[in-house]
Symmetry: D2
Subunit: 131 residues, 4 copies
């Protein structure tokens, strides 16, 4: 699944650790990830968090799709920051899963708190639908 | 602000229309925007929506930062889709703004519904903080 | 369904208008709805909004359950305020529905913006699960 | 603050434990808390969670107001259920706080997952604005 993930490769996302319900990814903030204000684009920290969420909830080798997500930005990211996203399963009840992801920089400052809700669908990881 | 937005340029986002409280952007889904499932990465539709939100709330030429956002994915996007994101101001009360963004494909199918909350900060558009 | 809704009756919620995908309710803020700060408890404006959401998405006479909701509070409510909640369908795609609800006071000031996501389930309005 | 909280008293909410950044509350589901489907009204579980959030973030004796909240309902509550809401501080950065609340029944089944964002304002606990 990671091999086919074009977005992760383009952003230089590195998969550090993965197991059912858990994933840890890293990404360095490059100039290409900045917004019009010169700080990290919210879409980039979201993408990192969302990717961690996807790996954590698909690590069971059963297809899961994202129903919705929310994100809060307590602090701004800067060029050169080394980000770590850690996704943890908060709940798995029937076909519904809830995952929390925290994105921190090299100093441990939290830049984003993400929560995603997933739903298991038919099939294994050659999946018809997207996380 | 658009000139300095590296992410928008990298993704081929085109600014179609902008006025205070409103922005309309388009983006074509390329292979580089797909996830491990072969469909549009949630982070990419979020980035498009988030960019539309940023333009709509910064179009007053007063700095605004994003406090948080949420997104719901009613349908999956495919390679080659021509996406349109339309951001509308839902509320502006004091320093708080709420913006709704819908991301649709070429057939008018809604792929994402996004809501963002912004807060105006000091300064004009040479801003210290990020949306 | 309204006849059996104990919460609505206890809070004095009045159903003003209902049709598929739409509902309008009113409620007066009493002392019993205040929090420890002496202003309207967030749970009470949420309950009003959530009730409007439930009526709008169940007005098709097909069972729908709430998957999740979010709420933003732009302003505080006061004792004696006459609140109106208006729920509008934002999207209905397959079994998924998204509804936006605005709660305003007698002066048209928006106190809460609510968004709810529903999912249709089997059966008609003698439903096993809750909105 | 609890003494003046009319909503908590009306719902029979009991404050079990409180310290800065943490609160634990209990509530029994009565018939008056049911919705038109005969299950626990989403507004009632939200109110319990929101109250736990308010106590956790105001336990510093500095006024804090809620900016927004979201809630996910993994399971339905029933009449007679004994609910426990546990609020934990997820982040406190400058004036922004993020709190997670889980609402469970007597069997440990999670009925609601709530996340609230707060902002500290001027003054101590004789506060002008509401959580």
């Amino acid at each position: 699944m990671f091999a086919r993930d074009h977005v992760s490769h383009a952003l230089g996302i590195v998969l550090q650790e993965i197991r059912p319900g858990y994933a840890k990814l890293t990404m360095r903030v490059t100039q290409a990830m900045l917004n019009g204000h010169g700080t990290l684009h919210g879409g980039m920290s979201f993408t990192l968090a969302d990717t961690a969420f996807a790996y954590a909830c698909n690590a069971y080798n059963q297809n899961a799709v994202a129903l919705g997500c929310d994100i809060i930005y307590p602090a701004a990211g800067r060029e050169g920051d080394d980000l770590t996203a850690e996704a943890k399963e908060c709940l798995l009840a029937g076909r519904t899963g809830v995952y929390d992801v925290a994105v921190s920089n090299q100093d441990g400052v939290v830049l984003a708190l993400f929560r995603g809700q997933s739903r298991r669908i038919e099939g294994q990881i050659v999946p018809p639908e997207a996380v």
